[in-house]
């Protein structure tokens, strides 16, 4: 992991009730206040659930994996992945301005992640058309 560039992910913190949540174009999901501040967190996440769509929607190519993953502060992200990652697996999350994308990183000795070989294999994702 030493060769991985340092990246961060940005979350929102409600200035009123302090709820941490994934940034969105709407008020705080808990208290409705419009006083969100953003703050950086590490991009490391743990997969909570994963699915592979047999027929991806228009604009996406198979295999199209979607992961529900938990990042810092218990915040959840729905991310696109090129590879299957089982629940409990470790991923790194990046936001490309439209969607969150997940890359397997291995699980610190738990052995559930992808091999380094798979990680470095080619361009990561097909962009939506």
């Amino acid at each position: 992991m030493t060769d991985a560039p340092v990246r961060t992910l940005v979350l929102s913190r409600c200035g009123s009730c302090q709820l941490r949540y994934l940034p969105r174009d709407a008020p705080c999901p808990r208290c409705g206040a419009n006083r969100a501040e953003t703050y950086p967190v590490p991009p490391d996440a743990r997969v909570l659930a994963a699915t592979e769509l047999s027929v991806p929607p228009p604009g996406w190519t198979a295999p199209h994996h979607l992961l529900l993953a938990e990042v810092a502060d218990g915040v959840r992200v729905l991310a696109v992945a090129r590879h299957a990652v089982p629940p409990g697996g470790a991923v790194r999350i990046e936001f490309d301005g439209t969607v969150y994308r997940a890359t397997p990183t291995g699980t610190a000795g738990r052995g559930e992640g992808e091999s380094p070989k798979a990680r470095s294999a080619g361009p990561s994702f097909e962009p939506p058309r």
Binding site: E52, P57, L68, L78
Partner: protein
Amino acid sequence: MTVRVASVGVGRFGKRPEGLLELAAEAASIALDGVGRKPIDLVVAGSMLSHGAGGPEPLLPRLAERLSLEGASGLRVESTSGTGAMAFHTAALALAAGGFERALVVAAEKMTDRTTPEITGELAAALHPSEAAAGATMPALAALVAQRYVERHGVDVADLALPTIHARTMAAANPNAMFRTPVALAEANASRFVASPLRLLHCSAIADGAAAAVLERGDGPVRVLGLGQGFEAMRIVDRSDLTTFAATRTAAKRAYEAAGLTRKEIEIVEVHDAFAPFAPIHLEDLGFCGPGEGLDWYRKGWVGLDGRLPVNPSGGLLGRGHPIAATGLAGIVEIVLQLSGAAGDRAPGRRPKIGLAHAVSGLAAHNFVTILGEAP
């Protein structure tokens, strides 16, 4: 509330040659005949996909013309797969408010004239835009829910299809259902993947169909006892627990309170089983059983016609087919038929007096509960 359902109508669900207007008129005519064509002063109509190319828009004036109801007032509602329930609630509330005497509710969908990718794309409009932008579809998010449910409750993935087996058994006795042949668990679990772990037979099917009801002010069978609805965060990432739907719990609490009832007095129920693993979640959220216990009810046969609580005697979405807007009203129609002793071969030995119909919009972002029957 002193509003009653005087009559209902439903046509066959599935692949139909007729267009949306004809399907709506068919169900509406059955319901109108049921009250001897007495005057209607309000029409509430619902459809989600009628805005597409060739769709019969504007729907209300065309429906009014078709049914000779131009003397009535009209309201149009839309709430994706909860549209039919929303139309029913709208009519009941309008009657209860005193503005009208007799309302026709009709909800219809025409789906089979479009390809599955087209329909899947249109239904993704019911998801949060940020999640649809990631290529999420309704089955994909349902798959994530299913996986969380499996993990949380230690469920055998093979058992997720139990509600499908039940649905197909029930649908066999419903002449209007799309799938009238029973399936075995092994067959369901060998069907192709749609969004892992969900397979084709975990998912309700694209269908054409319509349902209708005539509601009247005043007492008498079948009374509208309680209505409830609730919202939940539309983005699934804003939900802390995917194994329960807060919108159902809110809707149920409000409906039980409005009816002055508890879940113990409900004798028959129709739940929105768009995906098989949602059926146990709905039974849990409606209060019939505890978290993680829903599939046990299927295993033990408690959801059968003469079980502890008959569930989805119509076959539900999994057996009946799922013409989006019509579905929520079709569940209500089934409960009315059951309470009226008009359910034919799919009636329990003892006729139920109070029933509940549940409907879901989108990925359970806006849910509805309707309680019908004899006043307690």
